[in-house]
Structures are given as structure tokens and as C-alpha cells.
Amino acid sequence: MKRNLNILLSLVVLAGMILTACGGAAATQAPSSNATEEPSTSATEAPAPTEAPAENKVATFIWTQEFTTLSPLYASGWFTTTTQQFWNCWAWLYDETNTPFPSLVTEIPSLENGGISEDGLTITMHLRDDIKWSDNEPITSEDFRFTWAMTVDPKNTVNSTYPYDKVSAIETPDPQTVVMKFDAPFAAWLILWKGIAPAHILQPVYDADGTLDNADWNNNPTVGCGSYNFAEWESGSFARFVRNDNFYDEPAKINEIFIRFVPDDTSQTNALVAGDADLGLFVPYSETPKLKEAGVTIMTEPSGYNESWFFQVSEEFSHPAMLDVNVRKAIAMSIDFASFDRDVNLDVVKVPGSFWDSLPFYNDPAVQPYPYDPEAAKALLDAAGWIDSNGDGTRDKDGVEFVIQHGTTTREVRQELQAVAQQQLAEVGIKLEILNYDPDIFFGSYSDGAPVYTGELDIQEWSDAPAFPDPDIYYWLCSEIPSAENPSGSNSFYICDEELDALLQLQATQLDPAQRQETISKINQIFHDKVYWIGAWQDPDVWAVGSRLSGVKFSGVSPFFNITEWDIK
């Protein structure tokens, strides 16, 4: 018996040792080629330090959500698309003012330089002749044509074909010229070409498999065109990108970007405070004082997003009070968003007046948010005939109580705003019923009966943006109203405003920025005057930059536009 127990115990210990060795032993060596084999310098002072090469600079970034793929074709979601900027390349990048500048092209096409045709149906790009993939193959117009063709090819299960499905054809008269053809003018064309796929690598895969869905390159892009090369990705743990010494522009100063995946904000904050990370993002506003105290710099960058209240205005579904614009104004004036942003969001963000708040060019003249004025709100409600005739504390009219429903996701800060709004609306005699859903249920489809499509929510809340940095929006189009015949419609507010509809359609085709600005301004004013939308707070990208990093700038569109200039002090 004793012998048996000893054997059992030995086996357990041995298994533990083998597993430790399998998982831990040198599966990943020290970050770069000039790093030592043995543990050298530890930020945590643990395994004994030896000698750290001075030139080995590793920056650790914290991602609170793991990217799902590395392929630009299959990418969706912020972390996925953003990570590609390390190893992939865009036709043009955006600086810290979100102004585009050429990257792969010699100049950005415009009506002035002849890159955009008079009818707006042809856009021609000229590529630089010195751009190349990390394997030294030149980047050519064929790579652009291939990227477009693969994105719209139904054999590939890409998450979204937009905006490439707006391009009807691509011609490649020579290796440095890309000619895009459109069936109708597409004003938002600048949102194209955020990443390209190497035709010389992927075309043979497509020819063999008939799809790129299972291409190894999707998760192991051995060939790229960014300032870093992909090195390694261990799911759930980390990803490494090492400097691309073949980069066609100035090489990066930092040798390696190490991305560590953590599951939540708390882990991120602890890692930043403990010095285990150099960069974090989407930091909760409540954590910013703690981070600042630890020497972490907080940087915010407009990303086009605003936490938004979308009003449902529908004869069929809405509460009758919501059909009156003065009642909607009263609601907007009953809630003290500014105090909420000061007290709960710690003044990191402000109340946006416009859906285009972070696009100053289009938010011109700048629309201001409705002031918090409960007395004026009460007067508007009285004038609209909504009074508390039965003394129950809630206004009513023609026997209908003013009870409306507000729905959003389960995100904590949204629930806090709901509670505040419920209380403040009660003070003016409006009863707000609040509802919360998991995001995958809330944002479900019309066919699945998702809450936003049921018509039961008079006010819907989430964070949204135009096609940033383009001002395009389409939700409010009459043709987007969902129904059994049109289940894919996205107008969950059931608003069909003919004037607004015409302007929305017009701006989507205007290639002249000045003309488009004029149209967007009109839309902006309609949104404000008719109270179809009100903002709760701006929702910028909030970055936490550790004290070791220098030269850091961010853009709200291409956050790492100057990553090659970043350094470690």
C-alpha cells in the first residue's frame, strides 16, 4: 500500500514538472535576437538579474480584449483593427488632429489634383515606388485589387464587406496605379484601405482552397508591411511584434512591442500601477486618479464616438408624448448630463452637443447641448398638455400616463446614468422605466426580436459614431426602417423624416468637402432642433501611457501613426 501511494504521489509530481517544462521552458525566448538565453532583467526583481543588453527595448502594451484575427480582411472590432497597424500598412494615415497624410500613396486623391473624377465615379491612387513587403517583394496595385476582390468575394466569410462593396471595379494599369470605379459617388471613400493583403502570398492559398477562411496567414502573417513584423501570438496570453528592419520608412526606435492580454480593467490598472505595462487604453474614468498618482499619463483622443440617447419617434410604436418635439426638448433639458460627467466621469469627458462633436469641420457652426433647466422643461410639458391631472406624481394627457422606457446594455456607467435620469425625470413628472440587456441580446437582429427593434424602447442608449473620420451615417434613412420585408433595416428609431432623409442621401454622394460640410450642418441642426439625438458624454479613446515611454502621440483613426518615433527612456 505504501509503495502504491508513493508511486501515485511521484507520478503526480512528475506530471506537474513535465507540464511546467512543456508550458514554460523556453517556448518563447527572450524578446529579441540580442537578448540572453537565461533570465536577465526582471521588472519584478524576481529571477536573478544578469546582464541586459542596453539596446533591447521592449514596450509592453495591455489589451483588455484579445484580437480575433490578424487578417485585415476578417478584422472587426477596435483591438483587431488597431493591432494591424504594427505590422500592416494603410494607404494613408491620420495624425493627432485626425488629418490624413499619405503613407503608401504619393498624394491623397482629390478633385483638385485630378485623383477624383468630376463625376465622382473614378478615384485614382498613385503608389510610392519604394514600398515593399517585409519579404522585400514590392507592394503593387495588384495587392490593392486583390484586397478588394477577396473582401467582396462571397467565398470568404469576412465580417463586413463595407466599404469595399461600394467599389464596383478596380483597374491596375501599372504596378503603381490603382483605379477605383464606383457605380455611384461614394463620399466616404477615405475609409478604404485600412490594411492590405499580400497577393503573392494569399493568391496561391485562394487558388488551392477556394477561400481564404482557413489561410494560415490570417493568424500568422509572416509577411507584412508595417514598421514591425509579426513574431508570435499565444492565444489568451500575449503577442509579439519585432522591429521590421526592412521597413520602407524610418525604422522604429523600440525593438519589440509586447502585447499582453488581460481580462478586465482592474488587471490593466494593477499592471500599469505596478509598472508591468507601458501602455493601456479604454481606461475607466474612475481609475484615472489612481493611475496619475502612479506616474501614468492619461491621454484622450477623439474617436468619433459619443455616448448617445437615440429617441424613437414612431406613430406606430412610440409613446404619444415622444411624438411632440417640445416634449423631447423637455426631456433633454431635464437631465443634468454635465453634472453626471463631472461627478461620475470625473470631468475626463464633456457633454457633446452634436453627433459630429469630434469632427469640428462638420460640426460647424458648433451645436451646443440643451442646458439643464428643469423649470423650462416643466413649462414645455405644461404647454404640451402633459400635466399631472390625477395627482399621482406622473404627468398624463387624455388618460395616458407619461411613462416611457429607456433601454441600454448592462455596462455599469450606463446603469448609473439611467438611475440619475430616472430620478431627474421624475422631478419633472415623467416616469422612466429602465431596462438593461447583455450586449449580444441588445444589439441582436430584427429577426431575433432584439430589444432595439421591438419598438418598446422610447429611448435607446449606446455609444456610436459616424464612419469616423468620415461624417457618413445611414441609420436614419427611411429605407432602413426594419420590417418583415426588410429585416436587415438598421433604423431602430423608426424615424422617417423626409427632409432628413434627402439630406442624408445627398451627403453620402458629395465628394466636395465644402458642399458636404454644408449638408452635414443642416442635418446637425435637424438632429438638434427635432431632438432625434442627444449626447450624454464624448467617448474618446482614453490612453494610459507609462512613464518609460516617450514621443507618444495618438490619432483617433490610426492610433499608432507615429509608432516609429516612440522610444523608451
Partner: protein
């Protein structure tokens, strides 16, 4: 014995199929996996319709379950999402070893699970070993020194440990041993991950990064285990054969570790045997807090995205492990105690 094992294995198959059906039905209520695919950007309705067809999510639940179970190579699927089935499917089904493909990453589920299992086992086996060793030492000591001052102190401390939720222990230990220690200029422990990127993934680094999660996991379990060992040891120590051994003049060490412990170990083996399969599932909370890339995090990450293939794969793996480990526990039981016969 062989006949017994085969019989038990065959009994497990229908059990697993019924379980899979129940779980699959539950999974269908998780939500819409396509709704959050675009992250902050809402999935465009036309993309949603296409993806629903391409990924087979537009099929009735019964058909989806059938595809998951036996594959879809026998029928045409709508691979291009135009609403018309165009070619035969490629899924083999779980009965043929194909766990499917993740809706989120498009990677095979077996590959994703295979990447995480070693990390989970490193953490969980280490925690289990620490738990068992400390539980044995403290449990035996408490049994031999029943109601002594130290036994009372240990009992109080163990109850405190047992009553604390694991997330509290994890966050508290992280705050004290990493954040505060660093603030005070003392050597401090790492907060997240399996290694320091400045150093690389070496055995020493992995062990160093395991310290906090292992402590957090062990505190709870070893509090429970040690109380269990204490009570079984107390029961055995009062048996006649122990008194006989003592009266024969056997050394105390032999009485305790050979005669008492081996008999007290039998129920403990059962408890450990029932716990082992859950090691595969990982520690959801601890892995999440310490960013340990194990099965628990994989489960949670994909559960929140309604990634049915991955969640079902993990659940079925754990369910299968439960069935197998119960059989193994029975076999070990018979091996340790010759009185037990299964024929």
C-alpha cells in the same frame, strides 16, 4: 475489472449525448454571436444576414445540433450567404472528433483548447499539489493535537480562508504583494501573465508568475481539504486497530503514517478524484484576475461572445473528463483497498 471499465464507458456515452443536447439548448439562449462581432461598431444588418447563412446560424436548433454532432458533409450548405445552398459542408461533427470552428476567431476549437490546456494544467496541478501537501500537514497536525492552542488558531484561520471569496483573495494578494510591495520598495510579485516580456518565457519566470494565482487558489481548497483530513484522521485514530498498534509498541510515526493515514486516505482519494476533472476547466475567476491564459479565461471570453462552438467544446471536454475520472477513481479505490471488488 476490464469488463467493468468497458461497461462504465458504454454507460457514459448516452449520458454525454443527453448532456450535450441539454447544454446545446442552453447555449442557444446565450445571445447573438454576430451582434458583438464588430466591437464598438454595430454589425451592419446586411452583413448580419450574410454571416448568419454562411455560419449556419439561420438553421433551426435541431439542425444546428445535428451538424455539431455528426457534421454536415452529407448536406449542402450556403457557403456564400446568398440564401441558396451551394456545396457540401466540411464539418465532421464532434462524434468524428471535429469540435467545430470558433465563430469569433474562425480557428478550430480543438486547436484553441489545445493551446490553453497546458497553461491551465500547470496552474491547477501546482495548486492541487500545494493544496494536498499543506492540507495533509495541517490536517494531520490538527488531528494529532486536537484542541491544542495551535489547532484552535489553525481552525480559525482556515475558516477565515475558506469563507473568503477567491476574487477577494486574488485582488487583495495582488494589491499587497505587487502594488504595495513595489510602492514600499520591496521585492514584489508580478500581477498578470505568465512571464515578464523583458526576460522571456522561462521555467523560472512561469514559476514566479504562478506564485500569486497558486496561493489564491490553494487557500480556499486547502482550508477545506485540511478540515476533511483532520476529521477522517480523528475518526481513524480512534479505531481499535490503532489502539492495538500503539499497544504493540509500534513507533508513533509508523502508527500515524502507515496504519492511520493509509486508511484515512481512501475517502480523500474520492474527493481528489472528483476534483481532478474540473482542473481541465480551469479556474475561471483566478485566471481572469491574473490574466492567466487558461481554459477558464477561454470559456469566459467566448461565453460572453456567445461563441457556441468553443463553449460547447470546453463543457463537453469537462463532462467527458468527469465520466472518465470517476471510472479511474473507482479503479484506484480498488487498487488501494483490496477488499473492494467490482466483479
Amino acid at each position: 475489472m476490464l469488463q467493468y471499465i468497458i461497461k462504465r464507458l458504454f454507460q457514459g456515452i448516452p449520458l454525454l449525448i443527453i448532456l450535450s443536447l441539454a447544454l446545446f439548448l442552453l447555449m442557444m439562449n446565450l445571445g447573438d454571436p454576430i451582434a458583438t462581432m464588430g466591437g464598438r461598431t454595430l454589425t451592419r444588418p446586411e452583413d448580419r444576414e450574410r454571416l448568419m447563412r454562411q455560419l449556419g446560424l439561420d438553421k433551426p436548433i435541431a439542425v444546428q445540433y445535428l451538424y455539431w454532432l455528426i457534421g454536415n458533409t452529407w448536406t449542402k450548405i450556403d457557403s456564400d450567404g446568398d440564401g441558396i445552398p451551394d456545396k457540401n459542408g466540411t464539418r465532421l461533427g464532434i462524434l468524428r472528433g471535429d469540435f467545430g470552428t470558433s465563430l469569433v476567431t474562425r480557428k478550430p476549437v480543438t486547436e484553441m483548447i489545445g493551446e490553453r490546456i497546458p497553461n491551465t494544467l500547470i496552474l491547477m496541478v501546482a495548486s492541487e499539489i500545494v493544496t494536498i501537501v499543506f492540507a495533509l500537514v495541517l490536517g494531520i497536525y490538527s488531528a494529532l493535537r486536537q484542541y491544542s492552542t495551535l489547532d484552535n488558531i489553525l481552525t480559525a484561520l482556515l475558516f477565515i480562508g475558506y469563507s473568503m471569496p477567491v476574487f477577494f483573495i486574488s485582488l487583495m494578494s495582488m494589491y499587497i504583494f505587487a502594488v504595495l510591495f513595489k510602492k514600499w520598495g520591496w521585492p514584489y510579485l508580478p500581477t498578470v501573465g505568465m512571464f515578464d516580456p523583458q526576460v522571456g518565457k522561462t521555467s523560472a519566470q512561469v514559476l514566479w508568475h504562478m506564485v500569486l494565482p497558486v496561493i489564491s487558489l490553494s487557500v480556499i481548497y486547502f482550508a477545506a481539504y485540511s478540515r476533511y483530513i483532520r476529521s477522517t484522521m480523528l475518526e481513524v485514530l480512534s479505531q481499535d486497530y490503532i489502539r492495538t498498534a500503539k499497544s504493540k509498541g509500534l513507533p508513533r510515526r509508523q502508527v500515524v503514517y502507515v496504519h492511520a493515514l493509509k486508511n484515512a486516505a481512501l475517502p480523500i482519494v474520492t474527493v481528489i478524484g472528483l476534483d481532478l476533472p474540473f482542473l481541465l476547466g480551469g479556474a475561471v475567476v483566478t485566471e481572469r484576475i491574473f490574466a492567466w491564459p487558461g481554459m477558464g479565461r477561454l470559456f469566459l471570453d467566448h461565453l460572453s461572445r456567445a461563441d457556441i462552438s468553443v463553449v460547447m467544446g470546453i463543457l463537453m471536454l469537462v463532462a467527458t473528463a468527469v465520466v472518465i475520472f470517476q471510472i479511474i477513481t473507482d479503479i484506484i479505490y480498488a487498487w488501494l483497498d483490496p477488499r473492494i471488488r467490482y466483479n
